[in-house]
């Protein structure tokens, strides 16, 4: 245990995801040895982050204005919506530069254990966006785990009432990997989702 404020700082860092007691201590001491301007900049950002960041009114992505830069961009394909769990997933898909449509961030996945049901996700907003018939395809890109799959199934059932094409991201073998090292579940999925090439 350290004295007073040092221990408090370590405790605060330790509360962050992925940071254990040792890392928390290392970061705290790093900050004690850092130039005070750098520390001031960090504390300024921390102070402002919650007030300056908004969530896009349309898609739920993080934004500094009322809508995010993707929703404001007229060059994006307005007929495609990719549904993801978190704003982090938007960044991951944007990195691919393959998808030029719009996004919809749900804010999580259906998980009763965590107290998250369909009403806690931004599903109503999604239905509103689909109402005018501009969107022709909804791509479900929730995580390929139990909760993500459950959410995708829930959405696909909900969307059958609308005249919109619903697709799910493929799951299977990692590119650049060796077939022999793939686990059985992934390999099994890859077999299920095999495609005709000739």
């Amino acid at each position: 245990m350290y004295e007073g404020i040092v221990q408090e700082l370590i405790d605060e860092f330790g509360r962050l995801p992925g940071i254990g007691p040792k890392s928390a201590q290392r970061i705290a001491f790093h900050i004690l040895q850092t130039e005070s301007v750098d520390v001031a900049r960090l504390s300024e950002i921390l102070g402002q982050i919650r007030t300056r960041v908004h969530f896009c009114e349309i898609c739920g992505n993080v934004a500094e204005q009322e809508t995010c830069s993707i929703c404001r961009d007229p060059r994006r394909n307005q007929t495609l919506i990719c549904v993801v769990e978190e704003a982090k997933d938007v960044v991951a898909i944007e990195r691919t530069r393959e998808f030029r449509g719009l996004y919809h961030v749900l804010g999580g996945a259906i998980s009763p254990i965590d107290g998250i049901g369909p009403d806690d996700l931004r599903i109503r907003q999604l239905m509103q966006r689909l109402a005018d018939g501009t969107v022709v395809e909804v791509i479900l890109a929730t995580d390929p785990n139990l909760e993500g799959e459950a959410t995708a199934t829930y959405l696909s059932r909900l969307l059958t009432t609308l005249k919109v094409k619903v697709t799910r991201l493929a799951s299977g073998l990692p590119v650049g990997g060796d077939l022999e090292y793939a686990d059985e579940i992934t390999l099994g999925r890859a077999f299920e989702g095999r495609t005709v090439i000739g």
Partner: protein, 396 residues
């Protein structure tokens, strides 16, 4: 497959231990409380990721330490493997094969063992959960992929039970019923796979158990296994002797299981919502053990129950020897010989001599038939004492 070397660090009462072991029988001898069982418990852990004595991992870490390490050198088909697992207090465990990181639940792909101990009487006399655990452990050793299916099923079950509980607390809402259907789908898909695999395993065990039982006892008491499925309306939580039996003429057809499972869920919907818990599925199934057409639980003597449990384990080993890519499983007999009479000891010795490698613990050397005493390791207060060292002491 055989173990050539076992090394422990901060495991139970061992600060460190290093034992070279041989093919064939290895005998660990020592007074009670010295740490014989701890050695074989460590070996069992490598293949089942659990202890046969306790349900959690914490008791296996030496007092005052944060982690225990089990290391075993394995030899199979001319290839040497180093398997390691680190059991951590308050953090997830880690496993390595030849110094390369793997998921702990992948360990059974590299090492398989069948352990028999006095605690196994619980499989016969205990709750249905003990019998499900026995079947599932064997399923994973036979088909390691199923570890993932079992884990996913547990998770779906927890999600579904939480949903049922919250529906009960708040009154059922429309959206909750829709999500319930989705968890039903997952429960049925995963559960039906588990049920089908268990039915196949039960059917595969019938012949080996009959052989093993008559070899141990010296008479045929027609041992048999009868699946008790909750999706057929059997309530395994009560001691109801009535059992609607799965009609084997239809085979363990997956489609039939799925349809039956679905129908059972529909039928139980009302009471599930009332009680806030999933009432049918793989987690509510059981298997009944019979001798001469009567259930062992309730009808058989202590000796018969013992012989049945032992025969179950020998039959398990037979199945693994036949189906597993790893060849012979390593047999572990913890404190078993003291419970058997002279004739059964001799018969058991004959049976286990067919396996590549066997580990036996005993408090008294005289309990062990002589043909199993080729390689003896003495254990004294958490230290492994080499036979040579003992001789040296005796001479000095």
């Amino acid at each position: 497959m055989i173990v050539t070397h076992l090394n422990l660090a901060d495991f139970r009462n061992y600060a460190s231990a290093d034992v070279a072991v041989s093919p064939g029988a290895n005998l660990f001898v020592g007074k009670n409380g010295q740490g014989k069982t701890n050695l074989v418990e460590a070996l069992g852990y490598l293949s089942t990721l659990g202890s046969h004595r306790v349900s959690g991992d914490a008791p296996m870490i030496r007092a005052g330490q944060n982690s225990a390490v089990i290391r075993a050198k394995l030899h199979h088909n001319g290839r040497d493997l180093l398997a390691e697992v680190q059991i951590n207090r308050g953090a997830s465990n880690r496993a390595q094969i030849n110094r390369g990181q793997i998921k702990p639940r992948e360990l059974p792909r590299y090492f398989s063992s069948v352990l028999f101990a006095p605690e196994d009487l619980g499989i016969i006399r205990g709750d249905p959960s003990a019998r499900r655990r026995f079947l599932d452990q064997l399923l994973v050793l036979r088909t390691p992929r199923l570890a993932g299916v079992l884990a996913d099923y547990e998770r779906v079950l927890r999600q579904r039970n939480t949903l049922l509980k919250s529906a009960r607390a708040t009154g059922v809402k429309e959206s909750q019923l829709t999500t319930l259907e989705i968890w039903d789908d997952k429960l049925v898909a995963l559960g039906s796979e588990i049920i089908a695999e268990r039915l196949a395993l039960i059917s595969d065990l019938q012949v080996p158990i009959r052989t093993a039982y008559s070899e141990v006892v010296g008479a045929d008491h027609r041992p048999g296994l009868v699946p008790v499925l909750s999706i057929l309306g059997n309530d395994t939580e009560t001691d109801d002797p009535e059992n609607v039996v799965w009609d084997p003429s239809g085979g363990a057809d997956r489609g039939q299981i799925i349809a039956t499972f679905r129908a059972a869920l529909v039928e139980k919907r009302r009471s599930e919502l009332d009680r806030g818990v999933t009432l049918v599925g793989a987690h509510r199934d059981d298997v009944r053990f019979d001798l001469n057409g009567l259930p062992v639980k309730g009808y058989a003597s202590h000796g018969e129950s013992w012989s049945f449990a032992l025969a179950l384990k020998i039959a398990s080993a037979e199945i693994l020897r036949r189906d597993s890519l790893l060849g012979d499983p390593v047999l572990i007999l913890d404190d078993v010989f003291a419970e058997l009479d002279q004739r059964r000891r001799a018969r058991l010795a004959t049976i286990i001599s067919r396996y590549e490698q066997v580990f036996i613990t005993a408090a008294v050397l005289e309990d062990i038939p002589e043909e199993l005493t080729a390689h003896i390791v003495h254990i004294r207060s958490g230290t492994v004492v080499d036979p040579e060292v003992i001789d040296a002491f005796a001479e000095g």
